[in-house]
Amino acid sequence: MKGSLKMTNLLSRIRKSSKKTKTSTNKHRNRKRFKLRNQNAISIPKDLPSPHEEEDEEGEENAEEGFKLKSSAPLLTHGVQPLGNLYLNPGSINSRDTGLGNLHTLSDELVLEILGFLDSTDLGVLSTVSKSFYVFTNHEPLWRNLVLENLNGGFQFNGSWKSTYVAASYPSFDISSNALKSFKVRDFYSDYLFQSWLCANLEMKPEWLERDNIVRKRGISVEEFVLKFEEPNKPVLLEGCIDNWDALENWDRDYLMQLSGDVKFAVGPVEMKLGDYFRYSDQVREERPLYLFDPKFAEKVPKLGSEYEVPVYFREDLFGVLGSERPDYRWIIIGPAGSGSSFHVDPNSTSAWNAVIKGSKKWILFPPDVIPPGVHPSPDGAEVASPVSIIEWFMNFYGSTKNWKKKPVECVCKAGEVIFVPNGWWHLVINLEESIAITQNYVSRRNLLNVLDFLNRPNASTLVSGTRDRVNLYDKFKNAIEASFPGEMDELARKEAEKKIQQKKLSFWDSVSDSNAGAFKFSF
């Protein structure tokens, strides 16, 4: 925008500047919180579940129906309302500001960043300073960070992150009798905190699930798959190709618990026992639930690895030549409704398949040349700034895709179905219910040159993921391919060059012989 500065307010993660923990899905560093748009007074639609805390003393009846947000009603976990409501209430004071004193000129994000440097005792003490401080210091993400940093994965989720932390760190303090009941504040207006609550409690709207335009195929041959989908790099949903999996028959929560309840799996930045994870996922109600996403599940529990096999379409997997030195390539994915991954492109320029064993997932895919609305990759592709949560993306950006010419590919993938995600495609996934899935990334001959190019980039060491030896991966891989498939790369390169020449020829003739256009078409 000429003449004025666009204010980019990249919200750094609310945590102490600590080690960058690496997970296979953690491709996002900076996140942007989009302010509430076009929303003044909020009346919550009927499908919104009522707040989960117990009713307050006044006995407000908010039960099953959904409710309208009155300006004086202390409704939310702490009674936070959006700023729009303040403006409708002339003469009203914002207890947020009075309670912060001269800190009130700082934005919510800044206040939370400051609080993010404090430890639990400080937060506990500060909550008694004023009602405003109460709301801020009880912001769950702060406590989530404390739990994840200090307790690693060894925690028993206890209703809320704060409660979990206090119960674990101050065992002599009787949590239950002094149940940290939520305390309602009045006249507290804040878009950021309201949005945070909203995103944590909103369910997927039916209209977000309506569009299902992916191509579905059942029982096609590998040749047809390669010709129609892999080669042209198009997504497809394959039905019936994992019917023979033992996993499909056996895997449910009880089975997995019996098999591996005490095994630690990778969950976000930590490792957790499966049993502890389920305890968390049953209770949690937050914007970005922790997601179990483990690249070593077959090594940890060989039986799991033995109960599935790679569908026939994806068996050519050239990273296999690297043996144990190959980057992470297969994950078990378990998560509650609302968990998932916001927009990203898979690493190393690989393609992927994702098979749902239990539950269901909503997918949204954009082709490589179309950046999804609300997503801002950095020029070198190393960082992706995207809305904080999947729900927030749906609330703020999904609607705009309806009018786009380049509509995204969408579908709901159910148990027994497999989706093929071509390399370079942007995708977003959200679990609509508790789900168990397996996903793998792979490289076939159709994709080999792309991957080599990617690994050979000058900034490969930051971009390449899933392996410890990033810088040498290019050399290793190239040599290994040459050893196992001598001459293959040259052959592929030759074919590729030939194809390009063909395409140039075509477009030339196109322009010369095009009588429909009437005017001479320039093709540069």
């Binding site: 500065l5 204010m7 500047s17 004193g101 000129t105 400051i114 008694t128 303090f173």
Partner: protein, 166 residues
Amino acid sequence: MSGISDTERMITLKTVEGTLFDVKSSIAKDLKTVQAFIDDSDDDVTSPIPLPNVFTRELSRILDYLNNHHRFRSGIEKADEEMARYDAEFAKSMSHEELKALILAANYLNVKDLLEFLNQTVADVIQNKSVEFVRNFFGIENDYTPEEEEKLRNENEWAFNGVEQD
């Protein structure tokens, strides 16, 4: 390793009061908001970039910080100690009001490292202090009733052991 300035271009920034600052492009990179503006511009930016939210005092401090940090980073070994000393002095040299104003400016200009440092500085002030201290320091009115406050204290009793008494 960041490249040595191929062309150390100068960018001119203009504060609210109209003061002009010439800034090396390598420094301007740390002002991410400014950098985004430059990146988004089709042509080379020749005229001064106006910063409608930033005052001279703040910009001057920010540039001072960045210039020094760049110097420390590109210099010799003992830089860490020197840098820590500089940072401590830098934080101490400001009143609370000035610190807050600087946070807002650093936030607007998106100077990540400085912002983190400033936020940490404020956090350091609050750390381990009593409720009364915090209220006085920030000029906060206690809006709890005595009953509410007591109830809340009980609920957070685990936090109060070991903190300096009011």
